[in-house]
Assembly symmetry: C2
Homo-oligomer: 326 residues x 2
């Protein structure tokens, strides 16, 4: 019985699991907060320990006749996937960390490295909501907006390993300032913090809303999650914010539909907690803005592997890098 370990290294959590080669069964799924402040050595030591625990849990379920083929790692980028190096991660403060080889040394297992958002999209193609699709775009909408592109079961890396940077797509050339320094990026409107900021601006301008009561009057406690909660309860301002978010996201998704003509767009991340309050108007905006034959070809759906798409995709990426196919 041959299995592969998947590691999804994020800015706030590390998720590790062990999958059968065909992706049909997941064993030993564990999650830990990322000790980012302690630096790469401590983080890599924790990853090594989690891999060990996940394999032990797998053996205790499957017996000792278990062969571990290797470890696939997904990490925030930009990366050099060929050399297995994390070039820069703003969230962790890393620079030029040879993560792949350090994990291989720590575990004695073969390892591969790929971008986390790419891995999540590949995971959805392999075992999630995008199975069988030829052109898949994944969007993860949380603190930032990340993206991945998968073409016929392989991650599309672009010319220098940084394709699918969709969060800083311009949708409003003279619009809101983004934390990247530019104006009108998708992320400046539709990321979690941008949703909260737009709600707070409206409340401070005097718009009536149930949102302040939900945070005991402390507007600095308003988060996107609070806004969705108020929207689900019928608050007019919150509903307007969610609708506007769908409109902004719809413009960005329509651009992806026009440029890439995907058969599936997978939407994941915290923002999807708004559910159909967000997805329905988003689909309408895309249908209004994008080229009709491309709209007709494209399903826009929530991810099918919440919390584990990155682990599935890291394993699938290991298979592609080592064996040529997931």
């Amino acid at each position: 019985m041959r299995l592969i370990v998947g590691v999804d290294l994020g800015g706030t959590t590390i998720v590790v699991g062990t999958l059968t080669e065909d992706g049909s069964t997941l064993y030993g799924l564990i999650e830990e907060p990322t000790p980012g402040a302690l630096g790469p050595e401590k983080v890599i030591a924790l990853i090594g320990a989690m891999i060990h625990r996940s394999i032990e849990a797998t053996r205790s379920e499957c017996g000792d006749d278990v062969e571990i083929a290797g470890v696939g790692i997904g990490a925030p980028g930009p990366l050099d996937t060929a050399r297995g190096v994390v070039i820069v991660t703003p969230n962790l403060g890393w620079r030029d960390v040879p993560l792949r080889d350090l994990v291989a040394t720590a575990t004695g297992l073969e390892a591969t490295l790929d971008n986390d958002a790419n891995c999540a999209t590949l995971g959805e193609w392999w075992r999630g909501a995008a199975q069988g699709a030829h052109v898949v775009v994944g969007m993860t909408i949380g603190t930032g907006i990340g993206g991945g592109i998968v073409l016929d079961g392989e991650i599309f890396h672009g010319a220098s390993d940084v394709a699918a940077e969709i969060g800083h797509m311009t949708i409003d050339v003279t619009g809101r300032r983004c934390k990247c320094g530019n104006y009108g990026c998708l992320e400046a409107y539709a990321s979690g913090p941008a949703i909260a900021a737009r709600a707070v601006e409206e409340i401070e301008a005097g718009t009536a809303s149930a949102i302040p009561a939900l945070v005991g009057g402390s507007l600095d406690q308003v988060t996107a999650r609070i806004v969705y909660q108020a929207a689900h309860a019928g608050d007019a301002l919150a509903l307007e914010i969610v609708r506007d978010t769908a409109r902004f996201l719809g413009a960005g998704v329509a651009n992806l539909v026009n440029i890439l003509n995907p058969d599936v767009i997978i939407v994941t991340g915290g923002v999807t907690r708004a559910g159909n309050l967000l997805l329905d108007p988003l689909r309408i905006e895309v249908a209004r803005r994008a080229f009709k034959p491309a709209v007709q070809a494209c399903r826009i759906v929530p991810g099918g592997l919440p919390g584990t798409a990155g682990v599935y995709g890291a394993v699938a990426s290991f298979k592609v890098q080592r064996w040529g196919r997931a």
Copy 2:
């Protein structure tokens, strides 16, 4: 000696030429206005006659020991490339025309069909300014803004043959109305007619400019070409319009750089007559807006095959479709 005929069918002109298999020599290049108003039968009869003339011209240069392997056709879309059918062409008013097989019947030669903007990009990859590149985006900026994507020497078609519809990318979600009915499309700012319209708006609002004198006071005669002419002569309004165009185009190109991480972006079409007046500020805007590692990987250059990229690409597409590689 084996050659392939390339046909570039446009809304205003048809260009036909015959290329050696390796693309090194072009023979029998001819161009005719497209008799669009006469309907598909007449257009296809003209294409057949032009192919015949191009082959005759080739034979008279190369002798009779010439084998014509087939005909590659590039045509405006959307198309069904697998079936060789033009589904709709707004400029020609065609619907469901089996162009590939009609040309094959008219000439007795094997034929293939692909989208014209895709072909132009493939032509630049094969024999133009994008040779050796892995990820190429082509942009043709004229009456509209067309696009093509070539990945490792093959046209990227997307899930349903309509990828690279870049003209209707939203860059200003609440912006100018586009003739497609939406607001803020790149084409509403940076196409030839949009450039002329922005100049006329400013002049009508009272801005001083040399442009009215160039058209004898008839503002309905202002074209993008007149605006570039005034800009080259130092007219302040025209220079501002060209700089603004570069800024809008730069936002669109930055989106393509962020999403696709290309190693080359080829800019062609009438707008490029503005030369470095346009390209220099365009490159600056892209560098300001796009992700730095993606900017560093990407050259933004004018096309290397003016007027013939479509013919080269139609031939290259024939080779890919029939023989697996250009």
